[in-house]
Structure formats: C-alpha cells, structure tokens
Amino acid sequence: MDVELFIKQIINSLNTGSIYALVAIGYTMVYGIIRLINFAHGEIMMFGAYFAFIIATSIPVGLPFFVIVLVSMALAALMGILTEKIAYKKLRTAPRISALITAIGMSLFLQNLAQLIFGANPKVMPQVISNEPIMFGNIAVPQVMMYTISMSIGIMILLTLFVKKTRAGKAMRAVSQDKEAAMLMGININGIISLTFAIGSALGALGGIFYSIAYSQVYPTLGVMTGLKAFIAAVFGGIGNIGGAMIGGYAIGFIETMTKGYISSRWSDAIVFGVLILILLFKPSGILGKNVKEKV
C-alpha cells in the first residue's frame, strides 16, 4: 500500500518534472545564446497551450494528438522568433538590464494579449488524449502522463544529439561561446539565434500543452507559476546548460511532488523557492554550472 503510493508519487514527479524540464530548456538555451533571461518564455508556453486549444476546438474532425501538438509547436516557434526579432534583437549590445526589463514587458504584454483575445476565464481543454488510465498492476497511470513522460524524454534525447552532433548544433554552441569568432567562421549569428528561440519556444509550448491537458484547462496566467518554477529548474541545473535544465526540471518536479504528497501541498511552493535561495547562496552556478564549459 505504502509502496504503491510511493510509486505513484514517483510517476507524478516524473510527469511534473518533464513539464518543468521542457520549459526550463527554453530558458537555458536562450540564456546560453544571448545571456538573456527571457521572462516571456512562460507566456510562449501559455500560448502554446492556447494554440492547441484553438486547433482542437475549432477543427471539427478529431485531429490526431500529434498533429495538434506539431502545429502548436510550430506556431509557438514562430512566436518565439518574432519576439526576439521585435523586442530583443536591437538590444543585443545594450546593457543587460535593458533587455531584462524588455523581457518582463514582453511577458506582461503577452499575458494581457491572451486575456484580450481569449478572456480572463479559464477555458476547458478538450480531452485530446483518452482519459482512460493505463493499469500497471494496481497502479493506474493516466495516459496523458505516459505521453508527457515518454515524449519529453524522447525529445530531450533528440535535442542532446542535435546539439552535440549536428552542424547547426555545433554552430549553436560556437555562437554561445564566442559570437565574434563564430561570425569569423561564416556562421550566420541571426539565424542561429532564431533557431535557438524556435527550439526553446516549441519545447515550452509542448510543456504548456501537456500541462493544460493534465489540468483540463487553459488560462492567460498559465505560464506564470509553471514558468517561474521551470526558471528555478534552469538555475538549479546551471543556467545555460541544457543537461542541467533537464536535471533541474526533474529535481524540482520531484521536490514539489514529494512535498505535496508527504508533507503538505501548502508547503510545496515555499520549499521550491527555498531551493532556489539555497542554490543561489551556495552554488550560484547551479549543480552542473562548474565543470561543464559547454553552454548553449
């Protein structure tokens, strides 16, 4: 009995952790490439969920889940690219605080835009994944969790291979390490920055979609708390470090779920923010921030 509950909590941790990890990757990749904490990233995540909502509710034929997800991710990627081009590009050489304030402004703008378009009240996310749970012995696991965990892990493996092995992935690392030298190699910096925003935004959107399916709702402030915790996850792992964001995501997911399950759900946020404070105090570079030089 006790063991079963524990296994359930582990699965819940993996589920929450996957979402945090997906969103944290966007924070960390953008930070790696332009040293900006993109506060609007949580809003991209939220818009990703709305895109899925719109597609699922407005197209009468029941589109397969994967099509909905892919189209939403593509739209979010486009949105990410545009925010960079419109709001951040001009500020690349400006003092960092200017870009940071712009990012906060962008975040508020997108939240209000969502409110304006969709209204402030939560909308019910249609059940695009069957809500029939899958039984493992006595343990029932909702299908959406299965999708979340397996797709997230799959995507993270692909992303890691992409960054390590491909020409574009290497160029991305080169740009994050030395922009001027990267230019001298003939790397199109603007293209690589756009690519980074596109990937980060698409993964953030996927996180938002899973989140909104799990809770069956979409609302304009959906990205605020989750985005903040994903940001903490990115800092936890070492901001700028993709592997760190993944580890951080699961760590925060684990801490939060276990606190909710075994201590009290009232404490979970406090403990997660406590972790951030501890990290900032004792290892500000994050758990992977030291010995790993590669930053994207």
Partner: protein, 234 residues
C-alpha cells in the same frame, strides 16, 4: 587581391583609423606593424566586416565588401585569425576545425583538408578530442590557424599570431606562416614583433595611431632609420 582605400573607422566618437590605404597582391605576405592601440586589429575587423567602417573602400578581388554580410566574407575567401586566438573553448579540437569549414559542403575535400591541417600541426591530431579550452597558448594558436585554413582561404588575416608565445614557438609559428604562404595562400600579417614580421614578409606598412607613417619593401623597412629606432631597437 586586397585593396584598402582611405579607410576610416570610428568607435563612437573615437576616430581610430584615419584614412588608411594599402594593398596586398596575390601570393604576398604583407605585414602591418605598429604598437599597442595603433589600430591594427581594427583594420582586420573592418575587412572581415564585423566592424562597420565610416569611410573609404575595401575591395577584395575587385569586389567592394561594403554590402557583403559578415557571414558571407569567409565564403569569398577571407579567413581571419583573431587576436588572442579565440578558439571555442567548450568545443573539441576536432569540432573547432569543423567550424572552420562551416561554410563548405564538399565533404571529401573537407576531410582531406583536415588531414592536411593535422599533418601541419601534429599536436592538434593528438589532442583531437580534447576541448580547446584546455590547450596551451601555443596549441590554441595552432588551432586558430588550422581552423582558419579549413575554409580554404585565398587570403589569411593573422592578428598577432606570436603574441604571448615562448621564443621557440614564435620561430615555429613564423615558419608555418612562410610555409602556408608557399602553398599559395596570400597573407596579411599584423604584428607587434616588427623584426620577425619584416623578416618573413615582402612588404610592410607602419601604422601609428590610425595612420600609415611608413611603407615599402620589408627589406628596406628593416634598414630604415626611423623604423629601426621606433620598432626594432628593443
């Protein structure tokens, strides 16, 4: 091959380059010497278009570089080894060299050029899978030069390749420069080590606070009294 005409460059209000003109002909080694802050790096960066000029013209193979985007410069055949090496510290030696060939698509040729670089710099081959940040200064200089050669440049811009290296290594680097040139690559060499630079080059220009104050055949500059006093005495 490369013609710089009445070049002016500003950093904000600072007028760093004040009407510089020079020429590099195909097959030559031309050196630009001058002390700290003379504007040598600024000129190279402007040729590579990572800095915008405020006046004058830069022609490469009779094409004006004005409208060429920075990332297209390499494809035209200009490769720039920046001051301080600037290798990608978190990339391996091999990956750094791959970045040098970033604009190329010819896989077979790239592989043979890689072999050629490893042959020229055997130490890089030994350290192929080591991250570049862990290399010594001399090794990083070799990597930076190897990386630049991976684009098959027509002209190589070298910014103080001997900086901070032990005398023995300086010899090695200058020998390599001569050898690269013998194999057909034109070289524009920026140096503070005027003596060495004038010994390897065909032609030299002396830069002082953004202006060219002397120029000529390197052998003549080596015997020029003013140049001797200012740059060769130490």
């Amino acid at each position: 091959m490369l013609k710089v005409k009445d070049l002016h460059v500003h950093y904000g209000a600072i007028h760093a380059i004040k009407g510089v003109s020079f020429e590099v002909a195909k097959g030559e080694i031309v050196t630009l010497i001058g002390s700290n802050g003379a504007g040598k790096s600024t000129i190279l960066k402007t040729i590579s278009n990572i800095l915008k000029k405020s006046g004058g013209d830069i022609l490469f193979l009779d094409k004006n570089l004005e409208a060429v985007e920075p990332h297209k410069i390499v494809e035209m055949g200009i490769s720039h080894v920046p001051e301080g090496r600037r290798v990608f510290p978190g990339l391996t030696v091999y990956e750094n060299l791959q970045m040098g060939a970033y604009t190329r698509k010819d896989k077979v040729e790239i592989a043979s050029d890689l072999e050629a670089v490893y042959k020229r710099f055997p130490r890089l081959k030994e350290r192929e899978n080591q991250s570049a940040g862990t290399l010594s200064g001399g090794e990083q200089q070799m990597l930076a030069m190897g990386r630049a050669l991976m684009s098959r440049p027509k002209i190589l811009l070298l910014d103080e390749p001997s900086m901070g290296l032990a005398p023995l290594l300086v010899d090695e680097i200058f020998n390599i420069i001569k050898d690269i040139n013998k194999n057909g690559t034109t070289i524009l060499l920026v140096e503070q080590n005027a003596n060495r630079a004038l010994h390897v080059s065909n032609k030299g220009y002396v830069l002082e606070t953004g202006k060219i104050t002397a120029s000529g055949k390197s052998s003549d500059l080596l015997n020029d009294d003013k140049v001797k006093e200012a740059y060769l005495s130490a």
